[in-house]
């Protein structure tokens, strides 16, 4: 008895401690607050399913605990029979039909909401912003309509519908910003799509959701939602200025260390190949040994940006002639 009390007490303590921490910040008991219509509609579907499943859960577990308490043996020996009830057809029919009804309601609700989840409302769909996303081991590369490129962070103007074409250059990845929408797999040889219409300026975080290899957990992503003007200034000028740094941090540094001092990959800070444009391009484009072909679809501008940044901020070796 004392042991059971101890276990119950421990359980109660943990539940209380968890609940109090969790209640402070929506603690993952419900989906995250959504900032795009598709994510909001998914959340509505979630609450409909939650209502039914919570009710069934409570009914089943309550009955189970009640029966366990009510019909415990109370010292009756094993030889005493319980009620010899073999079943009840009416009950079987009832507890078949009610779940069928519940499933029909859930199915109906999901399909009622579906058009607003899988595609943007037509009123807003005119003139969408179209962004191309290439997933790589182990970074995200976004290409905007004017050709500007960003790495690991997606810049979006608030209130505008954005369509993203998602592709992978190597293995399966999965693009996911929970507060804006559901996951969409990035699969080589296949283009998938998702759309957002972010309703609030801010930064939304996500990460790769399909196991993609050694640095899966480092494939973090940010969606930076700004005003239309800030967005325009980013794709017109800032993107190009920041590209080299973003490439170093998003593509190279995850494996070679923030200063190229070596981590999982070898130390490269003093490697003269870094400042030989053709040598650098060859390795980044084709990979070498364990290093994947991280830059297999890069433009010349991307290589130039990386070279410039490395030469200015990373390379610690002796300067080479003509480098």
């Amino acid at each position: 008895m004392r042991r059971r009390l101890f276990v119950l007490g421990l359980l109660g303590f943990v539940v209380l401690a968890t609940a109090s921490v969790a209640a402070a910040a929506n603690g993952g008991f419900t989906p995250q607050h959504a900032h795009s219509p598709n994510a909001q509609r998914i959340n509505q579907a979630y609450y409909v399913v939650l209502a039914f499943t919570a009710a069934i859960f409570l009914i089943v577990e309550t009955l189970l605990v009640m029966f366990i308490w009510r019909y415990r043996s109370r010292g009756r020996p094993r030889t005493v029979d319980g009620g010899q009830v073999h079943g009840n057809n009416r009950l079987e029919i009832i507890w078949t039909l009610i779940p069928v009804g519940i499933i029909s309601v859930i199915f109906g609700f999901v399909f009622y909401k579906l058009p607003g989840i899988s595609g943007p409302p037509t009123a807003h769909a005119a003139n969408p912003l179209e962004v191309k996303l290439d997933a790589h081991q182990f970074y995200w590369q976004f290409t905007y309509p004017n050709g500007a490129v960003s790495i690991d962070e997606l810049h979006l103007p608030v209130g505008r519908v954005v369509k993203i074409d998602i592709n992978s250059e190597d293995v399966n990845h999965s693009w996911w910003i929970p507060q804006l929408g559901g996951k969409t797999d990035a699969i080589p040889g296949r283009t998938n799509h998702i759309w957002y219409q972010p309703d609030k300026i801010g930064t939304y975080y996500g990460q790769c959701a399909e196991f993609c290899g050694l640095f899966h957990e480092r494939m973090l992503a940010r969606a930076i939602v700004t005003s239309e003007a800030d967005y325009e200034s980013f794709v017109r000028t800032r993107a190009a200025k920041e590209l080299g740094k973003a490439e170093w941090e998003g593509v190279c540094a995850k494996c070679h260390g923030p200063q190229g001092e070596g981590d999982y990959g070898p130390a490269i800070a003093a490697n003269p190949t870094l400042v030989q444009p053709s040598g650098l391009e060859n390795i980044v484009r084709n990979g070498r040994g364990l290093m994947p072909a991280v830059g297999n679809n890069w433009t010349q501008a991307q290589f130039r940006a990386l070279e410039t940044y490395i030469k200015a901020s990373v390379y610690k070796g002796a300067s080479t002639s003509g480098g």
């Binding site: 943990v14 968890t18 921490v21 969790a22 910040a25 603690g27 993952g28 995250q32 509609r41 998914i42 579907a45 979630y46 399913v49 939650l50 039914f52 499943t53 859960f57 089943v60 189970l64 029966f67 366990i68 019909y71 043996s73 009756r76 094993r78 319980g82 009620g83 009830v85 073999h86 079943g87 009840n88 009950l91 079987e92 507890w95 078949t96 069928v100 859930i106 199915f107 999901v110 989840i117 899988s118 293995v171 399966n172 999965s174 559901g182 996951k183 969409t184 797999d185 699969i187 040889g189 296949r190 998938n192 975080y205 959701a209 399909e210 196991f211 290899g213 050694l214 957990e217 973090l220």
Partner: protein
């Protein structure tokens, strides 16, 4: 009787203490070998799980390296699915099916032995791959291409993984055929289909599913192996292949596999509950029909694992509705089990605790499955810790709780001694509490955005809190499993377990009619079966005569 068994089994080198296990074709010995081997792998897979939880206890932890983590994660999943749950159920099926249907042995005893030795070989191949030059497979237990292709998974670990699964597939196919032939042809007089124990019904459907699903896995693995070593491009898009094809083939096997792992466990619960409620099972026919219905529908739901790959809406809708339909027969089972406890004389021995724990936890796992079946919701929770929580509620809270119930329930039949009740109850409570501490917070982690299969995470706050609780829970479960080992040691090796008679639980089915442990020929005579509870009928007839 003793004289008779000696005459049938003359003393030769085959009677040696070790040799008799190596050359055996007796379904009981093979069953014990299966269960013991699977338990060894269970502890190996459990240690891998504890390593992962230790690594994830706090953010930016480095208890093990990321390379090692991916190997551990892959081996944990592969071990628990292919080397623990499926074979331990095959072990119980081997031991129990002939006894439950009043048969002398399985239909093909030598094929049966082959099944076991192939299982052991497959396990050894998988575990020896730790020693291959580049380590074992590390592409996850699903091993999706293109990650599992040679370009991204160099070395031989992935090849050993494929080889091991090929061997295990052969083992399971042989045992499935054996079960089907045995159940169809060797039932004792009077045991009609609707008087058959529910566990045997579950093994029947389990075997049909294995036969239907395993060839798909073999085909997928063969294509993957050819891609890696035979210069083909089935799954390599840059050469004209299709990476999604593998997912279809894998899950065409993989989802029936889930029911392969859970239906016989449900069958065990259906055996244990009535015995400890001192009642017949509520709705025998409904449970049989729901088992068949689940088996059938489990073949039609595979793409609910693929809602995020960008299937056409029509397919998403079809797989959503077929997945949700499975909730209906599953619900029928749960309601019937709860109703079985109604007006019972509930005996809370350890098997009963695990069976009741199964109902409580499996309900949770089933209901979280409804969220995953609704494909837009799945777009949010897919491949997160929410899914990890869901399938552990189904496979650990479900299958393994039932299996532990089965271990405590049939141990006295198999070894002649009862496992210790106090240690058994401690084992149950530690596992139950530890299980919920480990996996309940993982639902929250998933909704907070934590993907599965990550080596570490970079958030503090709630992520850290829930992960830490989860790790503490896993430690409590680990302690529970140590208690289980102590219990086995105390009962069998220290020989302090109470000797069980033929029928310590006053049970219903034929295996309790014979001695504990049963003689090599199982039965000297088998009573004519007049209902699904032949032993209860027998007790009543005896009581009327005296």
């Amino acid at each position: 009787m003793a004289a008779r068994s000696e005459a049938a089994y003359p003393v030769t080198w085959k009677s040696g203490r070790v040799a008799r296990w190596l050359v055996t074709v007796d379904h009981k010995r093979i069953g014990i070998l299966y269960i013991a081997t699977a338990l060894v792998f269970f502890f190996a897979g459990g240690i891998l799980a504890l390593l992962m939880r230790a690594q994830l206890a706090t953010p930016n932890e480095s208890v093990i390296t990321k390379n090692r983590y991916d190997e551990v994660m892959t081996m944990h999943g592969t071990t628990m699915v292919f080397l623990v749950v499926v074979p331990i159920l095959a072990g119980f099926g081997n031991y129990l099916v002939p006894l439950m249907i009043g048969a002398r042995d399985m239909a093909f005893p030598r094929l049966n032995a082959l099944s076991y030795w192939l299982f052991l070989l497959g396990g050894i191949v998988l575990y020896l791959s730790w020693f291959s030059a580049s380590g074992p497979a590390r592409a996850g237990w699903t091993s999706y291409p293109t990650l599992s292709e040679l370009q991204f998974s160099p070395g031989h670990g992935q090849d050993y993984w494929i080889l091991s699964l090929h061997i295990l597939t052969l083992s399971s196919l042989a045992s499935a055929i054996n079960f089907l032939v045995t159940i169809h042809n060797m039932r004792t007089r009077g045991m009609t289909w609707m008087r058959m124990p529910l566990f045997v019904w579950a093994i029947e459907v389990y075997s049909v599913l294995l036969l239907a699903a395993l060839p798909a896995l073999s085909a997928g693995l063969t294509m993957l192996l050819l891609d890696r070593r035979g210069y083909t491009h089935f799954f390599i898009p840059s050469e004209g292949g299709n990476a999604v094809l593998y997912q279809h083939v894998f899950w065409f096997f993989g989802h029936p596999e889930v029911y392969i792992m859970v239906l016989p466990a449900m069958g065990m619960v259906s055996e244990i509950l009535p015995v400890f409620a001192r009642k017949p099972i509520f709705g025998y026919t409904a449970i049989v029909l729901s088992t068949i219905f689940i088996g059938f529908y489990s073949m039609l739901v595979w793409a609910h694992h693929m809602f995020t790959v960008g299937l056409p809406t029509g397919l998403d809708g079809f797989f959503m509705i077929s997945s949700m339909i499975i909730a209906v027969p599953t619900g029928i089972k749960i309601f019937n089990w709860v109703a079985t406890t109604w007006r019972g004389n509930l005996q809370f021995d350890t098997p009963m605790l695990f069976a009741l724990g199964f109902i409580a936890l499996f309900t949770m796992g089933g209901l979280s499955g409804i969220f995953l079946a609704a494909f837009p919701i799945d777009w949010q929770v897919h491949d997160t810790y929410y899914v990890v929580a869901h399938f552990h509620y189904v496979l650990f809270g479900g299958s393994l709780f039932a299996i532990f119930g089965g271990v405590y329930y049939w141990w006295p039949k198999i070894f002649g001694r009862l496992l210790d009740e106090r240690l058994g109850k401690l084992h149950f409570w530690l596992t139950f509490v530890g299980f919920n501490l480990t996996f309940l917070p993982q639902h929250m982690l998933g909704l907070l955005g934590m993907p599965r299969r990550v080596w570490t995470y970079h958030h503090g706050g709630l992520w850290e809190t829930y992960n830490l609780i989860s790790t503490i829970g896993s430690g409590i479960m680990g302690l529970g499993m140590l208690i289980f080992l102590v219990n086995i040691w105390r009962t069998q090796i220290a020989r302090r377990g109470i000797r069980a008679g033929n029928d310590p639980w006053l049970a219903d089915t034929l295996e309790w009619y014979t001695t504990s442990p049963p003689p090599p020929q199982n039965f000297d005579s088998v009573p004519y079966v007049t209902s699904a509870r032949p032993l209860r009928d027998l007790r009543r007839r005896l009581a009327e005569q005296t």
